[in-house]
């Protein structure tokens, strides 16, 4: 029962020490009136805490699903360059992202009437991964960075597509207006974008492997802009942001090195052999990284 769970790790020690007063306590325990004001208020606390924990768990689960689906979308998008059927990949990714958004809609529904920041820790990882995926797709399509406003615009849901509304949400629909929205916080956005740079680095390396000479230069340009943006923010942001700055620097260095190699070798080696030169170069970088 709840009492046993509450004791947890301390339970064993307690039993050992309490050998003596135990009988006495048992006696006193019976004196506690289960309907005293204190007990009734604790019963309501139990209910309140349980409701809160349940909601938190549901959100964590949703966040996990969002993370997984977003990761898969990113893997799919990496196939975009190498596959001849680029349009198809993009469309498929759109379908996948729609699925992710449906999950986010459920999150938004859970948070109706709640303070979003109370449950922020539960959903933050999922949201960051989603931002990474959606900004990656946006970059492939438009070669620019998606803005916070743009992301938030896609996270306004209406009641139209409610195929999978659970009984919980349908009851709350009666009271609520038929739109839900979720706002991404600036910090989540920043962290998501920082992760995006890692994907862009991978995209750069693989596009060289495919003999694409222009993309790396475009990417290094873009990454430099983002890096400048992050250095502008510097340490005014929270701790997590400055932590990502280091990885971002590494990604940028890799991409810049790639461009350098292309420039130097590009003039002297026939195009079809460039990929070989490049792959040995990246291996070198990877090895260095493994050492450090």
């Amino acid at each position: 029962m709840s009492g046993k769970e509450g004791d947890g790790s301390g339970g064993f020690r307690k039993r050992k020490h309490d050998n003596f007063p135990h009988g006495q306590r048992r006696e006193e325990k019976e004196n506690v009136n289960p309907s005293s004001p204190l007990m009734t208020s604790f019963k309501s606390f139990q209910l309140e805490l349980d409701t809160r924990h349940d909601k938190y768990e549901r959100l964590v689960k949703l966040s996990r699903d969002i993370t997984i689906e977003s990761k898969r979308t990113i893997f799919l998008l990496h196939r975009y360059i190498s596959a001849p059927n680029g349009e198809e990949v993009l469309n498929e990714s759109e379908v996948k992202l729609d699925g992710v958004r449906r999950k986010i809609k459920q999150v938004a529904q859970e948070l109706i009437g709640e303070d979003m920041y109370q449950f922020h820790r539960a959903i933050s990882p999922g949201l960051q991964e989603y931002i990474e995926a959606v900004s990656f797709q946006y970059f492939i399509k438009t070669r620019s960075l998606i803005s916070v406003e743009e992301i938030n615009k896609q996270l306004i849901f209406t009641a139209e597509d409610r195929e999978e509304t659970t009984n919980m949400t349908s009851s709350s629909q009666d009271k609520q207006p038929h739109t839900w929205s979720l706002k991404v916080t600036p910090v989540d956005y920043l962290l998501g974008v920082a992760d995006l740079t890692g994907e862009l680095m991978r995209l750069c390396i693989s596009s060289v492997g495919n003999g694409d000479i222009d993309t790396p230069f475009e990417l290094s340009q873009f990454l430099r802009q983002i890096y400048d943006g992050f250095t502008f923010i510097g340490n005014t942001g929270p701790y997590e942001v400055s932590k990502k700055l280091y990885t971002l620097k590494q990604s940028l260095a890799k991409v810049e090195n790639a461009c350098y190699t292309l420039k130097v070798r590009g003039s002297e080696i026939p195009k079809h052999m460039l990929a070989d030169v490049f792959s040995t170069k990246t291996e070198l970088i990877d090895q260095e990284e493994g050492l450090s």
């Binding site: 709840s2 009492g3 769970e5 509450g6 004791d7 947890g8 301390g10 307690k14 020490h17 309490d18 003596f20 007063p21 006495q24 306590r25 006193e28 325990k29 004196n31 506690v32 005293s36 004001p37 204190l38 007990m39 208020s41 604790f42 019963k43 606390f45 139990q46 309140e48 805490l49 349980d50 809160r52 924990h53 303070d115 979003m116 920041y117 109370q118 922020h120 620019s144 960075l145 803005s147 916070v148 600036p186 910090v187 956005y189 920043l190 873009f222 802009q225 983002i226 400048d228 943006g229 992050f230 502008f232 923010i233 005014t236 942001g237």
Partner: protein, 229 residues
């Protein structure tokens, strides 16, 4: 929008956020100061001669709570009302401390557990989230757990001061509190950690009661307590 323009905007948002935190921190510091003064005042009850004028000390402490209420009033104005949990960490500690102080005063006065609504009223805040700056349930429970360890100490010191009836009353109270907490399904968080300490307070008080009863002091006390009531 260009990338750099976007980052300028984000930086603006982050700076605004930091300003708010700075403001909150200032008020919280003032609150902590008031809480410390109150604690010093109430610590007097542990001293031998402090037992006589408990009501006076409680009254003085209650005067401090009016300072707390004005400080809380100013804290409320420092951030948007619907973002309570965004900045919760900043005042969490001091709020738990204040809950403890309020609960301690109420216990000394009436020997009952203060309700969540009553604490909210003493501190000049709301009990429900819907109505504005409120008292989070976990903070309330944490404050109550601090009360338990303070009472364990009080039980020991009241025996030293020759008051043999108080430990028995404290024992009944703590036992009821313990059964109350047993009803809760706590997650593995800070509240649960503090709850794990409650059993040692219970044990401590039980030992005091045991010491009194094998020496026959509780009978004397029971007679005395009956006379008081």
């Amino acid at each position: 929008m260009s990338v750099s323009a976007m980052f300028v905007e984000l930086q603006g948002a982050l700076t605004a956020d930091q300003d708010i935190r700075e403001e909150i921190r200032k008020v919280v510091q003032a609150l902590e100061q008031t809480a410390r003064e109150m604690l010093t005042l109430l610590q007097g009850v542990h001293q031998g001669n402090g037992f006589q004028d408990i009501p006076k000390k409680c009254q003085k402490a209650r005067e401090h709570f009016s300072t707390v209420r004005t400080q809380m009033e100013s804290l409320k104005t420092k951030f948007p009302a619907d973002q309570y949990y965004r900045f919760h960490e900043h005042w969490r500690f001091v709020l738990q401390r204040l809950v403890f102080l309020a609960a301690f005063v109420v216990y000394l006065e009436t020997e009952t557990l203060v309700t969540r609504e009553a604490v909210a009223e003493i501190l000049g805040i709301e009990a429900d989230r819907e109505r504005g700056f409120h008292l989070d349930i976990e903070d309330y429970l944490s404050g109550v757990l601090t009360l338990a360890s303070e009472l364990a100490r009080l039980a020991v010191n009241s025996v030293t001061a020759g008051d043999y009836s108080r430990p028995l009353r404290i024992s009944t109270f703590i036992n009821e509190l313990d059964s109350g907490f047993r009803l809760l399904n706590l997650k593995n968080d800070s509240l649960r950690k503090r709850y794990d300490g409650l059993k040692y307070d219970v044990k401590k008080i039980e030992e005091v009661v045991y010491d009194l009863s094998i020496r026959g002091l509780n009978k004397e006390a029971a007679g005395g307590a009956g006379g008081e009531k």
